[in-house]
Symmetry: C2
Subunit: 492 residues, 2 copies
Amino acid sequence: MVEETPQHNAKKTCWNCPAVKFKGHVDFRACGQEAFRKAASGQLVVECKRREEIGYFDPMSITYDSCPEFQKTDYGYLLRGMTVMILGIDGYLGWPLALKLASLGCKVTGIDNMLRRHLVSEIGAQSILPIGSVKKRIQNARDHLGLDIDFREMDLLNRDEFFEYVKEVQPESIIQYAEIPSAPYSMVDVDRAVKTINNNVIGTLHVMFAARDYAPETSIIKLGTMGEYGSPLTGRPIFEGLFPGDAILQYGDDEWSLGGELTPRDPVSFYHVSKVQGTFIVYESCKYWWLRSYDVMQGVVYGLQTPELIADKSLNTRFDIDEKWGTVVNRFVAQTAIGTPMTIYGKGNQIRGYISINDVMQCMVRMIANPPEPGQYEVVNQVTDLYSVRQIADTVAHIGKHEFGLDPTIQRYENPRVEAEDHPYEVLHTKLKDQFQFVSESDFEDEIRYMFKRLLEPDIKARIEKQQELLIPRTKWSGTTGPLKVLETFKP
Amino acid sequence: MVEETPQHNAKKTCWNCPAVKFKGHVDFRACGQEAFRKAASGQLVVECKRREEIGYFDPMSITYDSCPEFQKTDYGYLLRGMTVMILGIDGYLGWPLALKLASLGCKVTGIDNMLRRHLVSEIGAQSILPIGSVKKRIQNARDHLGLDIDFREMDLLNRDEFFEYVKEVQPESIIQYAEIPSAPYSMVDVDRAVKTINNNVIGTLHVMFAARDYAPETSIIKLGTMGEYGSPLTGRPIFEGLFPGDAILQYGDDEWSLGGELTPRDPVSFYHVSKVQGTFIVYESCKYWWLRSYDVMQGVVYGLQTPELIADKSLNTRFDIDEKWGTVVNRFVAQTAIGTPMTIYGKGNQIRGYISINDVMQCMVRMIANPPEPGQYEVVNQVTDLYSVRQIADTVAHIGKHEFGLDPTIQRYENPRVEAEDHPYEVLHTKLKDQFQFVSESDFEDEIRYMFKRLLEPDIKARIEKQQELLIPRTKWSGTTGPLKVLETFKP
């Protein structure tokens, strides 16, 4: 008889569960660490919002695998019909996450201010996978997958409306995806830098205050980026946000553990600066108010398939490929698909972390299923693989040439960014596996193959061709304008 | 014959001087480190904005002590009539700095949006040293000290107006003091947290963009706070912002220098968060655009005298003592002066760095005289002494009792803040001395004595009494309201 590995969160208790009512029972502020000691020794009693009939109980006495409010899923034990609020539900990641969670029985609700659609169309671009209005998308999800998704058009910066919404919905988890996600956009001019920082930083501050006042037990998942760290030229490891306990500082004749302190950040654009600024808001809010959060340092996401997204073409997520709103793998496939060169900035030796959209969804659901404990701020590096830009171009070229009969070209431009072009990159990313049982289900080459298949469909290809000028880099970190010099054009 | 110690910046060259025109001569973005190599080997030529007649020259070939545009002062060589722009010129530090610089022959110009006056009066408080309108203050400076100060009422957040101003003035140094400086204010509610972060972060972003576009050689001095660091419980040293080269990270079997990376931050209120957020903006702008800045992590400032301020009573700087806008030493003296208890939060073992307003002025002028080089971001810990809150209370009590016949009392309140009450605090602060020849001219006890003298003047004392209710702590970090519990009242 083979013993099954227990689910990652099977033995977690109500201490971590967002359905527990701590307020009124535990004064975290006053008792501080005392709350933990009490909890650990069974002296702390709480109530369950879902099972009022059990009255007061010791939160450590019920485990997820023994609670009827939890169901076993492929992602761990998950609160039945968990209420998850997705901020930025209309985005590249927001939409597939809504579908995934709804298909797992979650009560999904979300907001979007339609800013992303507006900003992309502002430069004359559009999602190259056609997407309908949110209303239409939700109707399609109902028709094809039988899912119910609640949507409100709302701006996170509209504080009163957002606070009302959190108060009404009482989310058990909040996913903060409502940020402007473009490095080049943030570097265009002062107006866009301010807009990015204002939107991202004040938005996140609103999330934390709303949680404090209306949903203090909610589990907050904040989207950060690997770009918060930069690429330390010494080659020191890039830890998961906080130094581990066995990271030692040596100075003079003494040494100290750096464990629990935030690692140095070196954000590579004002967009990335805004993410670091958000990190500090979340980190401190958890400390001040015993809120709980995973701050997810995500690598560059690529791909367009999840089981839900491909159930029907009308369920597409948005897919941008232009120089501002697209990202590198997706853009290279699109460029090769229409026979234009892949655009490399500088040497192309820049190494970054990558993850497929399908793996992102798995990670997110696992984290939603397994919330932090009160007061816990934890950083997760959400990447599966490291590649240099040149490696990506070579892989895309190889598949494009040999499997799709295309004629791939590479064009190197002078680098419009301020970044190291040759650097070590040692990223630690074991938490997802160790704490959440994440195992990647994606193969880099397969995802590229699948993208080629979709992007070579005549209607999609035509949409790429229509915006092909927008794929060429033009946003310089220096703030100066004018075309960038082409350094080299060649066939890989 | 005694040889005089050379001034700290005597041998600095035009490479560091903001009067040099780099733009058009040096493409920092394109050449990167190349610029330094060229400069070091005399291959780089620039022009001087002040001495057009010398034409092109090697910026390393002229030193401050050999340039006729520099004058020797007590603070080092200083550009004659240096144009210094003070943002927040009406504040506790802005005003005395304006007086000090003007008295050294600088061309001082400044803006203020009058927000500080508004916010203080909003809670029913006011500066307990009477201050006139800015117009009046400037008139007084002219009448009593013969100084000329240029002032515009302007909000740094009004971007177009501010950019025009920088363009017009062409500052050789910009002092960023235009920030909302109160930790308790930022913790009152979401509205004030947002206001603090928005004002401080977007304001600083405006400064950097204005410098990039209209004054790229200007030396930017950004006011930060020691509170950005928090108080690491391991007792590891609190470095000056960036790790020194001999700070080593040990992890696994390897080690790396952390030199040049930002040290971990742990800001203790949203106000402090806003300062960390500003740090990242300045740090990265210097990197992206070769701007130059000192980021000053300032300790808690106390006192009310500088030679200029005390030249006439009409030249007072503002002096706040309430729980939101005042700071601890000043408040304790005021409380003792009117016979009310000194208010300690929690145990009173919290250790912080302190510095007198007179020493602050000396530090600032020394840094203004000795600008960073292009691209240089440097952090300076601006403190002279470390005290626990209890030590301060004891010192104030001792002087109040024995020298002024007062009857000092201490009242300990439950701590409204989220902070460690017992912690080590090992602060490194040698840069001011080593790089700028700073030597403190203040004695803690003398400053307290002087404060007592002024605050015991009947009219001043009456002003304190009028707002004595506002000196009692009431802003809780938890966001809950209601009076704080008094833990203990005693005579020290």
